[in-house]
């Protein structure tokens, strides 16, 4: 019973490890992935938990009018939006529903221009479907899918000689759909990248964008993630403690993910908020940055957030920045 929807974009600023809790592959601590595609995700439960934690810090029993203008919630509103505490979970359902965060742009090392943002028609089509659901109108068409060894690019920024070389793989550049690639890059730069401090990246995105065949994209998001090796030192001997060597996988810096946010009317008595007001309250928390995933104390998982509603504006921009920074 969703009556309002919007989109949350997540831009990864430090490596993001949203872990699965177990791993059977080469990496000890892999990241969360979709079961069918292998694409990286951040599961909704972790994301909503972080939003809830941030909102809790912006909730008080009796906020003044000025507080509310600054994005503060009443405790009742907080519970109506995110649901009651676990002990009272069956009292009523929370009004906000977050989907999984899904990958849209993935940075890959490039021989030219240092790195490229890669995506695929498959990833773009999924995004377009969710964008349509939330009422966004990107205004660019889905490009025709490139061949397996072809990369759709806009211009020559990613060309090393006559090839696009990503990691150790070479692709034939195809500029026949350059206008579409440019339109996608410009729309994402304008609507999805963080609002402030990203002017350079917004200008670079249309030229660094590279649309690959879906299998090539899948291979990069499967095998092109960041893998960090960790050890634990014995404080007395300053040598590695027994068996304390492990690897951790992370989504690399400059990945872009998106999350559909859906809301229905409040079910909590005494809180009269419809779905649109619920999303407005969440966006107005002023949450422009937060931390997701593990290793918070070592600076991992810092992400920039951008809420975009169906009108294409940013409801959070009007609020005074606050919450967890």
């Amino acid at each position: 019973m969703f009556t309002a929807k919007s989109m949350l974009f997540i831009y990864v600023e430090t490596p993001l490890h949203a872990g699965t809790g177990r791993g059977l592959g080469a990496v000890d601590l892999p990241i969360q992935r979709e079961r069918t595609t292998g694409y990286p995700i951040v599961q909704a439960s972790g994301l909503k938990g972080r939003l809830r934690a941030a909102a809790r810090g912006r909730a008080k029993d009796s906020p003044t009018e000025q507080d509310q203008q600054q994005g503060w919630l009443s405790t009742k509103e907080f519970l109506a939006i995110f649901g009651p505490e676990t002990a009272h979970a069956s009292d009523y359902a929370g009004a906000l529903s977050t989907g999984d965060a899904r990958i849209l742009l993935f940075p890959v090392r490039s021989l030219a221009s240092v790195f490229a943002w890669v995506t695929s028609c498959d990833a773009l089509a999924r995004f377009l479907r969710e964008a349509e659901m939330v009422g966004l109108k990107p205004g660019w068409p889905l490009p025709l899918a490139p061949g397996k060894d072809t990369a759709l690019v806009n211009g020559t920024a990613l060309l090393a000689g006559d090839s696009v070389v990503l990691e150790e793989f070479s692709f034939k550049p195809d500029t026949s759909q350059a206008a579409v690639v440019k339109a996608i890059g410009e729309w994402l730069a304008k609507n999805a990248l963080p609002q402030t401090g990203y002017d350079y990246w917004k200008a670079a995105l249309p030229t660094k964008l590279c649309i690959l065949h879906e299998e090539a994209f899948r291979d990069f998001v499967l095998y092109g993630t960041e893998v960090q090796t960790h050890i634990k030192l014995d404080p007395d001997t300053k040598t590695v403690a027994g068996k304390m060597l492990w690897t951790t996988e992370s989504l690399p810096v400059d990945s872009l993910l998106y999350v559909p946010l859906m809301a229905g009317p409040s079910r909590a008595h005494g809180v009269d908020l419809d779905g649109q007001a619920i999303l407005q309250k969440v966006a107005s928390l002023g949450l422009t940055r937060t931390q997701l995933g593990g290793d918070e104390t070592t600076g991992q998982g810092i992400v920039a957030l951008r809420f975009v509603n169906s009108n294409g504006d940013r409801p959070g921009s009007a609020a005074t920045p606050g919450g967890k920074q």
């Binding site: 969703f2 079961r35 676990t86």
Partner: protein, 354 residues
């Protein structure tokens, strides 16, 4: 009447009836497709939104959609797994493989078991109740292989199978996969893990173009497309009204002397696998049960949000079960559902073949 095709926004969670609190009960499993109980809740909840009913006003809710056991004019069929297929994206329903078949690789598919009178069969020990005069046996030229769990048939293949023709099934992994997710409980104040709060939840991720088909009668005013809330964790589903409605396989007006009933959705009987007040309540004419191919019972419960309590968990005859009947003279099915509870919301949906 409208027919809906529901597709996931990402994953779905339809918990079974086992307790789960993310602590001592740390594992939640999913059922797929969800039970009609779940679907009626989804449809009725969304109808409240379509009609603009205040979700906190119990009287308005009851006026609009009824109560937990009073569904007013609502009549559901489904939910069934369905997939968009072909160039025109036609919706194809999928059903569990009937319980009265065995795989025979030599024959190139599934083959029916055949009912034989008890006296005609070799001496066997069986738990089949003595009131059933027939037992189900493979044909002599069948070379049975071990049944594989989680097999589904398209509607076309199912109808062929029920009529005794070789039919093919596909594994559930072609339709949906289970996605196990670990979770931890975090203490917001300390940013540390809650003691004992490590849990695992089994989500369902339908494959590309796979979703749920459901037919809704009694409600109107819905948009052609939209998004609704479904299952655990308030996950989302895109719905779209199907323009070319799918018909339900109808039996002949008069049933043949021997016919069988395939349960496409779970059915509830007060005496477990059979109705307490006899089969006469479902058929006009003289009908007697001959044999049964029954899968393991399915426990279905649920949560009553209106009363804020658990619904009683009951055992249901699972989808895929097949009942064999004999009819004397003219006999016909009185209604196209066979169940002693939940007929309005989709339990006991049956397909009859002669």
């Amino acid at each position: 009447m409208m027919q809906l095709f529901l597709e996931p926004v990402d994953v779905w969670l339809f918990r079974d009836g086992k307790p789960f609190d993310a602590g001592s009960d740390h594992r939640a499993r999913s059922l797929f497709p969800p039970s009609p109980h779940v679907m009626q809740g989804v449809i009725r909840s969304h109808h409240l939104v379509v009609k603009g009913v205040d979700l906190r006003d119990r009287q308005a809710i009851e006026a609009a959609v009824g109560t937990v056991n009073d569904f007013r004019g609502l009549c559901l069929r489904g939910p069934f797994i369905a997939r968009r297929e072909g160039q025109n994206g036609q919706i194809v329903r999928y059903f569990p493989v009937p319980a009265d078949v065995i795989p025979d690789e030599k024959a190139g598919g599934y083959r029916l078991l055949h009912p034989r009178l008890r006296g005609d069969t070799p001496d066997v020990l069986t738990s089949a109740p003595p009131e059933l005069p027939m037992l189900l046996w493979p044909l002599e030229d069948t070379e049975p292989t071990k049944k594989e769990f989680g097999q589904w048939m398209s509607e076309t293949e199912l109808l062929k199978c029920l009529q005794g023709q070789p039919a093919r099934a596909i594994h559930s992994s072609h339709l949906f996969v289970h996605e196990n997710r670990f979770g931890i409980g975090l203490n917001d104040a300390t940013c540390t893990t809650e003691e004992g709060a490590l849990y695992e939840v089994d989500f369902i991720r339908p494959c590309k173009d796979v979703g749920l088909w459901v037919q809704v009668e009694g409600y109107d005013g819905w948009p052609a497309t939209g998004t609704l809330r479904i299952g655990g964790e308030a996950r989302g589903a895109h719905f779209s009204q199907i323009e070319t409605a799918l018909a339900w396989p109808q039996p002949h007006n008069r049933l043949s002397a021997r016919f069988k009933v395939y349960f496409a959705s779970p059915a509830f009987f007060k005496d477990g696998w059979k109705p307490r007040s006899g089969w006469e309540q479902f058929f006009d004419g003289d009908v007697t049960l001959q044999a049964v191919a029954l899968n393991r019972y399915e426990v279905i419960g649920g949560y009553d949000w209106a009363a804020n309590r658990q619904k009683p968990a009951c055992r249901y005859v699972p989808a895929g079960s097949v009942y064999y009947f004999a009819a004397v003279g003219d006999a016909q099915l009185r209604q196209d559902v066979i169940t002693e509870d939940g007929a309005e919301i989709g339990f006991g949906q049956v397909i009859l073949t002669g």
